[in-house]
């Protein structure tokens, strides 16, 4: 590194331990996300990891609406929104367009990262087909799912990513119902089933883990999928100031473990030595307030068994029995 470029790096970075995090805000302040939005934080950090040599395609959802209300745009990088279910398809078209033009010597020389961003609705429900197609076709792009566990932008309706027992407006808790009666769809596993080179889970409460993974996903040749836990104080009915705290608890209770799947091999990136009881996580959120101890017990069992299954996959990848 020359002296001049080093000075530029130091001038434009904040150092955290070994990490350099750019001071640039590619997702600027002035966006209209709710107070304490965990998803906005996740997007902001992901964009720092991606840098400016990127084209982002976004699905309809919270982030799209809060960041692009005419005439205000919070994006300093090229960004396109079209519809709800097609972020991955639009990304496919951009990737193909750039590839063709580059090969034919018509502009688009530098390698540009193509990144699709969508919520849990635009990924695991209405957007699942387009995502599956794009992953199967092997486009060189990164897909980021920002999962706030319901269709939040339209007013907290359930999605297939809504966790068991959560009360949403279309899976409300009531005298005859405990809320969502199905278990959260395992999107990382679905993505991995396409045989893509890189899948990961991330949470902005572990910001450097998230940024490392986003940078890694962007650098990978071929499709990469990262599922990002996005705390939603409005929809989850929790205190806004606890957004980062709750995200951390999700990891520490094991309900949202942080791992990578590289060419099918699982690896935990945050190893939780002793998981906290799930009740600590649930009790901070109004959407779970109605749950009986019995249901909480059922959730704990499920978290335990899924975590054990994950640990098993991790150790099999390592080729030994110890997690």
């Amino acid at each position: 590194m020359t002296k001049g470029s080093r000075a530029r790096v130091m001038e434009n970075s904040i150092a955290f331990g070994k990490r350099l995090v750019t001071k640039e805000e590619y997702f600027t302040a002035g966006h209209r996300a709710c107070v304490g939005c965990g998803e906005a934080l996740a997007v902001r950090l992901a964009c720092k990891a991606l840098g400016s040599n990127v084209i982002i395609t976004m699905a309809t959802g919270c982030m799209e609406v809060v960041s692009s209300q005419f005439p205000y745009s919070a994006w300093t990088v090229p960004w396109v929104h079209t519809l709800f279910e097609n972020a991955a398809a639009v990304a496919s078209g951009i990737e193909a367009g750039l590839k063709a033009r580059r090969r034919k010597g018509r502009g688009a020389e530098a390698e540009v990262h193509v990144v699709a961003m969508a919520g849990d609705g635009g990924t695991s429900d209405i957007g699942l087909q387009a995502l599956s197609g794009a992953l199967e076709r092997g486009h060189d792009f990164l897909y980021l799912c920002f999962d706030n566990e319901a269709y939040m932008n339209t007013g907290i309706q359930r999605s297939s990513a809504t966790p068991f027992g959560a009360s949403t407006t279309t899976s409300p808790a009531g005298r005859k119902s405990i809320g969502q009666v199905t278990w959260k769809k395992n999107m990382p596993a679905i993505a991995a089933a396409h045989g893509i080179p890189y899948v990961a889970t991330a949470c902005p409460s572990y910001p450097f883990d998230l940024m490392d993974k986003v940078a890694k996903g962007a650098a990978v040749h071929g499709p990469a999928y990262i599922h990002i836990f996005s705390v939603c104080p409005t929809g989850w009915r929790c205190a806004p100031e606890l957004a980062v705290n709750i995200g951390r608890l999700a990891v520490q209770t094991g309900i949202f473990p942080l791992y990578e799947i590289e060419d099918g091999k699982y690896r935990l990136t945050v190893n939780v030595a002793r998981r906290k009881p799930i009740k600590e996580y649930l009790q901070l959120q109004g959407r779970f307030r109605h749950l009986s101890d019995e249901i909480i017990g059922k959730i704990q069992e499920r978290v335990d068994s899924e975590y054990a299954a994950l640990v098993d996959k991790v150790s099999r990848a390592r080729g030994n029995r110890q997690a």
Partner: protein
């Protein structure tokens, strides 16, 4: 100052595209019911408040301490909760 939203149709760009980063002209700071107050005596300049702000409105000043840009700050309180030194207090916004 804010952009005009009531643009005549002739001034719209092709496909109604927008210029990048114009959200920085939009004041979200008037949303807040409380604002962060940074105590330099306790701050260890770790920068975690900067990292965890969903608005990205906390900036590092020349002396290396951090402060929130109240033009954008929505008063969420994440910085106060996450600060490892309890150097940030959320104070009720009077106006």
């Amino acid at each position: 100052m804010a952009r005009t939203e009531n643009v005549p149709w002739r001034e719209l760009k092709i496909g109604t595209i927008m210029e990048p980063g114009t959200a920085t002209e939009y004041e979200t700071g008037d949303w807040k019911a409380q604002r962060p107050v940074f105590d330099k005596n306790k701050c260890n300049k770790c920068g975690l408040c900067y990292i965890f702000c969903p608005e990205g409105c906390i900036r590092q000043s020349a002396d290396g301490y951090f402060e929130a840009n109240l033009f954008y700050c929505k008063g969420c309180g994440i910085c106060a909760v996450e600060c490892p030194k309890d150097a940030i207090a959320m104070v009720e916004e009077e106006e």
